[in-house]
Point group: C2
Chain length 372, copies 2
């Protein structure tokens, strides 16, 4: 068996040691004679797995007692509705920062439940930017909400499709609006330390930096647990999920177990501080390779470049298929860019070792040379 | 390694051959060098897995072209809200058959969105029944809806907690009400052939007869795809999920893969006809053992007894702990009854072989003898 370097944007590569342990424990978890997949979610065995997983996640992100950690379903796309359904009681509007496809999808879905106020939008000022994808400057936004009270301010911390990572002062924006911050961190959660206390809600689908698709983690300020609309489905009501320890309905038990193995692995590596340093190294190596070449180009402004998703184009687009085929021959897979951006995209989440990025840049240099 | 006989009500036992194959393929699916868990849901590899899984499910239940098969998230508890959100456009009421804890939960959740008309209720006539748990006779129900048009008639085909399986004429009831039937089949789907065409919606959480917790299958009449309320979350809108081939958001990819392995296994055994015969054999063996003993008693009326979940009590309740401990010593686990029913419960879904039930009844007889 030869494992490939998998640059998929999600579901994405997992640490090999995690997969190895999952395979070993598949038929018989710790001598109990059954698979984790077969365990009742109420059994003592599964309860121990679940509580360790939740505790490890809290430890990794240093989640304060003011915040609940919930394990839910439906992914970030589900959360686009679940968040307003949970936070709009007593409010009619919320504010949105649009930095790309995912944040736009979020504000669009919100419109089913209230008035979405887009306070920053890179689409509106694209012509001013030095490149196609970027985070807009945090300018005068208050005039865009006309003095109305916002339920919350939503932004996407990392745009997976365009490869834009938010580095602006989101807390300062929220402070101006006097409302909590809601962050979609699906594609960069656990890649850096966070001041969780400064967020109302942080959520993420698992399939990038956490584990298998099908589990969604939400970190929710306890002060926001009782703001659900009466039409919010019980299974997706933060307060109900919190009261029942994420077991109001049967949780995605096996996916949570795998997430727990990923958390253990991450703690062994050195936690989110290690992840942050490793992400910087990998991203620098890849962006430097792109910037130093005449074949490759990155469409994202320098200061807004994602450490997780690196989109790049080839000066000669007719070489795209050849690039992908030759890369695949060397075990470098899932490099095709999103159809809305074109070119290539290398997603380099926590589980992608530096070695994998080194293999990619070596191939890129070799390919450029062969086509020169 | 010694595998136990796992009588959990869900998540529940899976076929050992499925777990074995999942373990073998964990790090390297069919020589592709990556785990199914790591595959992009848009990749050709995963697409082939997904389409085979969906096709096999359609084949197993002989799903006609008039119906879509959707892979969703949130389980049956989520569906309690998702179904009304999808079917209430143009309606204000729906009819409900209450046969136990799960169907009661369904009508209660419905009340967030419309007026629930309970047309049959075993709680209302409990005193008339020969035992505590049963399906009420299908009597005069029309007077309970006062001539109003119902959006649909909902019932739960198998009540996991009380061990009651519906065998009444649900189609006849729906015909009287002139509305489609919606069935919660979470705990007995794939255990018998179905006339799918006669249902509006059939849904089930996977964690009993299908696969791991975290995937929900919905079979939806195409004629019902455009009845969603405007407040229905996009990720949970039948029409949207159908248009996008269950990939509007990232599906729970690995859980669907395991479900696919279960479907393959079931087809090898002989499909739902085999499952039906096997379920009958196992249930008969267990109920006969209970009925022939003076220690064990089943609280469910004969004709309403579930083939999937067999609750039974001990004449001397002080023996409960001893029974459970001795059973566990012999590798018979997860037999404790639901707290609302007490006593014991043996869940014997498709993946529980006859051999497991034989081991259980041998132990039950031995225990009764030792306590005589």
């Amino acid at each position: 068996m030869s494992r490939v370097w998998n640059f998929s944007a999600g579901p994405a590569a997992l640490p090999e040691s995690v997969l190895r342990r999952a395979a070993e424990e598949m038929l018989d978890w710790q001598g109990k004679g059954l698979s984790v997949m077969e365990m009742s979610h109420r059994s003592p065995e599964y309860t121990s797995i679940f509580e360790k997983t939740r505790n490890d996640f809290r430890t990794l992100l240093n989640v304060p007692d003011t915040h609940e950690v919930l394990f839910m379903q439906g992914g970030a796309v589900g959360m686009n509705a679940i968040v307003p359904l949970n936070l709009l009681q007593g409010f009619e509007q919320a504010a949105f920062v649009n930095t790309g496809a995912w944040s736009k999808k979020t504000s669009k879905e919100f419109s089913k439940y209230g008035l979405a106020r887009v306070v920053l939008d890179n689409a509106n000022t694209r012509a001013d930017a030095s490149s196609a994808c970027y985070v807009p400057e945090c300018g005068a936004l208050l005039d865009r909400v006309n003095g109305q009270q916002m339920a919350y301010l939503h932004y996407c911390d990392n745009e997976t499709i365009s490869g834009v990572e938010f580095t602006g002062q989101i807390e300062a924006l929220a402070s101006l609006l006097d409302c909590p911050v809601v962050a979609d961190m699906s594609s960069n959660i656990l890649s850096k330390p966070l001041d969780v206390a400064s967020y109302g809600v942080i959520y993420g689908g698992a399939q990038k930096n956490i584990g298998p698709a099908g589990v969604t983690i939400a970190i929710v300020d306890k002060a926001l647990l009782n703001r659900a609309l009466p039409i919010c489905p019980s299974a997706f009501t933060f307060g109900t999920v919190a009261e029942n320890g994420s077991m109001y309905n049967t949780p995605p038990t096996y996916s949570i177990y795998i997430a727990g193995l990923v958390f253990e692995w991450l703690m062994e590596q050195g936690g989110v501080a290690w992840a942050q340093a490793q992400a910087r190294n990998k991203a620098d190596l890849l962006y430097n390779t792109i910037d130093q070449s005449s074949l490759y180009n990155c469409p994202v402004r320098q200061q807004d470049r994602s450490r997780m998703n690196v989109p790049f184009t080839l000066a000669d687009e007719s070489l795209n298929s050849k690039f992908l085929a030759k890369a695949a021959d060397q075990g470098l897979v899932q490099l095709k860019g999103h159809k809305s951006v074109g070119g290539m995209r290398a997603s380099i989440y926590n589980a992608m070792p530096l070695e994998g990025v080194q293999a990619l840049v070596a191939f890129m240099r070799e390919f450029e040379k062969s086509e020169a």
